[in-house]
């Protein structure tokens, strides 16, 4: 009798999916190495020209902007999300906790378009913020928030917040309360307890959260597209424009490959940063 029943039959579909995905990624890689034939959907012969073009200042700038936006978003999300995650874990009242959890989790399931759209109404020249400031008499002319990097980052932070809060809350909740009590019993006030015990012990969760925030933000498209409106471009927007406006799929593919290399590099760096914290929490 087979000691490992179902092994083949259960693995086959997954292997098939994996193969399909690899094929799709290989297709991207392949296209990135082929020439762009203007006016045609089919690519030309093999060339490295696409990657050479990437080094042009125009595109290099988009790369830097993207990294900048992702980093800024990740850090801002962390600063805003940590107190929220902490509150989520510390609140004792079950109803309040459930309500908070629902409020934090729901945006996660709304999809990019709905959330970005809502921000358009908030940030627009006739939108919420400007109307409020006008109504209070604080400004005469509307402040330009749409089509700015600031607007894009604010919306991106809002989009990334739930996932970071959830990961951080999970990590925080697993820190034994007794550590805090022990610190208090030794004379540590609340700030010292947080800085010397809670924060260090939450570092693995923090790094995991920041890593995820970075990867998610890098993948964002609708938010920079709709709020950036063409003036704030991330790699995602560029890929779309090249593919669907110019039909320059080879170059779009090259951008994807380069973007992937970038993500992997950043994630590897973050992984290294996590190493010293890996053994914390082991009892």
């Amino acid at each position: 009798m087979n000691q490992r029943p179902f092994l083949r039959s259960f693995t086959a579909p997954a292997a098939l999916c994996a193969l399909g995905f690899v094929a799709a990624m290989a297709a991207v890689l392949q296209y990135s190495l082929r020439a762009y034939v203007p006016g045609s959907l089919d690519p030309g012969g093999f060339t490295l020209a696409n990657f050479a073009d990437l080094l042009k200042p125009l595109y290099a700038r988009v790369f830097l902007d993207t990294v900048g936006i992702c980093a800024l978003t990740a850090i801002a999300t962390l600063l805003v999300g940590y107190p929220l995650a902490y509150a989520l874990v510390r609140i004792a009242h079950p109803l309040l906790k459930s309500a908070l959890l629902v409020v934090v989790v729901t945006p996660l399931f709304l999809g990019e378009v709905v959330r970005t759209y809502a921000w358009i109404i908030v940030l627009g020249n006739n939108g919420f913020i400007n109307s409020l400031l006008r109504g209070l008499g604080l400004i005469d002319q509307p402040i330009q928030l749409m089509f700015t990097t600031f607007g894009v980052v604010v919306a991106l932070v809002h989009v990334t917040l739930p996932v970071l809060v959830i990961m951080l809350a999970a990590a925080l909740s697993h820190i034994d309360r007794d550590y805090q009590r022990a610190a208090e019993s030794l004379g540590a006030g609340p700030i010292r307890v947080f800085l010397t015990v809670t924060l260090p012990l939450s570092m693995p969760g923090v790094i995991a959260g920041v890593t995820t925030a970075f990867a998610w933000t890098f993948s964002a498209f609708a938010t920079p597209q709709l709020i950036g409106g063409g003036r704030v471009n991330m790699i995602s927007n560029l890929v779309y424009q090249l593919g669907f406006a110019s039909f320059n799929f080879p170059f779009a593919a090259a951008l994807c490959v380069a973007g992937l290399a970038l993500t992997i590099t950043v994630l590897a760096i973050l992984r290294q940063a996590a190493k010293p914290f890996e053994n914390i929490g082991a009892h």
Binding site: P13, V80, A92, V114, Y117, I121, I166, G189, L260
Partner: protein, 273 residues
């Protein structure tokens, strides 16, 4: 009723203020969009001068939205079900057995978590073009399966890890074949994990936008893509109305899931204390 110094009390109130501000930030768009949806005028201004339900009616009538909804349901139903079957089966073999290529396949299937959706979308678009696959539902479904598979895998894997194998061993000792054990013992015990995995996959697939933008065509447009196209052309509050319906439906679903499944447990947030 822990004794607190004045300093601690002040910190506590300061903390509450900060968290309230953050919550206000979190809720601001939803509230603003809801108010805007009731605006009688066609322009996207704030605050509304007059109130009306008409944008809700328009949103529900708009053919592109209806088609998008319909297409979305088709794609999601297929994608999450396929992903559940493939993911559950593979999670089973990952948990129980070791074999060559296990880590490799697992790595490939989990990688969409860090690969941007626009890359995945572009990949499937190019692949379809190269092998002569028509841009119908099949491509979209395949793309979605790949995107939601990591979540299904993780959900089912965690359930399997928490499953006490002694139940299956007891069944085997009583003479049940592996298949019978699987169907009568393992599957029923895994049900909560499978259901939450499916639900998670379905919601993610239904709302997926970026990759769908690349692989859908005019004919197979899903709802998020339809909404995106609408926003680019029109500036009336129909989208706001649609968003409100979206928000209400999702919040209700989440609250429901929390009441019955306990969101905290699903998200691995410890409940004690």
């Amino acid at each position: 009723m822990t004794p607190r110094s004045t300093y601690q009390r002040m910190l506590g109130w300061g903390g509450r203020c900060v968290v309230s501000l953050i919550l206000a930030f979190l809720l601001l768009p939803a509230i603003v969009v809801t108010i805007a949806a009731f605006n009688d005028k066609a322009i996207l201004s704030f605050p509304p001068q007059a109130w009306s339900w008409r944008w809700f009616a328009r949103a529900l009538d708009y053919p592109d939205f209806r088609e998008g909804f319909h297409n979305g349901l088709i794609v999601t139903a297929w994608a999450s079900t396929i992903a559940l079957m493939v993911g559950a089966m593979f999670a089973f073999v990952i948990d129980r057995y070791s074999f060559p290529l296990k880590r490799a396949i697992e790595g490939v299937l989990v990688s969409p978590l860090v690969i941007p959706h626009f890359t995945v979308g572009l990949g499937f678009l190019i692949l379809a073009a190269q092998i002569g696959w028509s841009r119908g539902f099949a491509v979209v479904i395949a793309c979605h399966v790949i995107l939601v598979l990591p979540f299904v895998l993780r959900s089912v894997y965690v359930s399997l890890r928490n499953l006490d194998q002694s139940f299956e061993q007891a069944a085997a000792s009583l003479g049940a074949t592996p298949l019978r054990v699987l169907l009568t013992v393992t599957l029923p015990l895994l049900l909560p994990g499978l259901v939450s995995g499916w639900l998670f996959a379905a919601i993610l697939s239904f709302n997926e936008f970026t990759a769908s933008l690349f692989v859908t065509s005019q004919r197979t447009q899903t709802l998020p893509v339809a909404m995106y196209n609408y926003v680019r052309e029109f500036a009336d509050p129909s989208m706001a109305a649609l968003s409100v319906m979206y928000i209400v439906a999702t919040a209700a679903l989440i609250a429901f899931a929390n009441a019955f499944l306990g969101l905290g447990k699903v998200l691995n947030i410890e409940q004690s204390e």
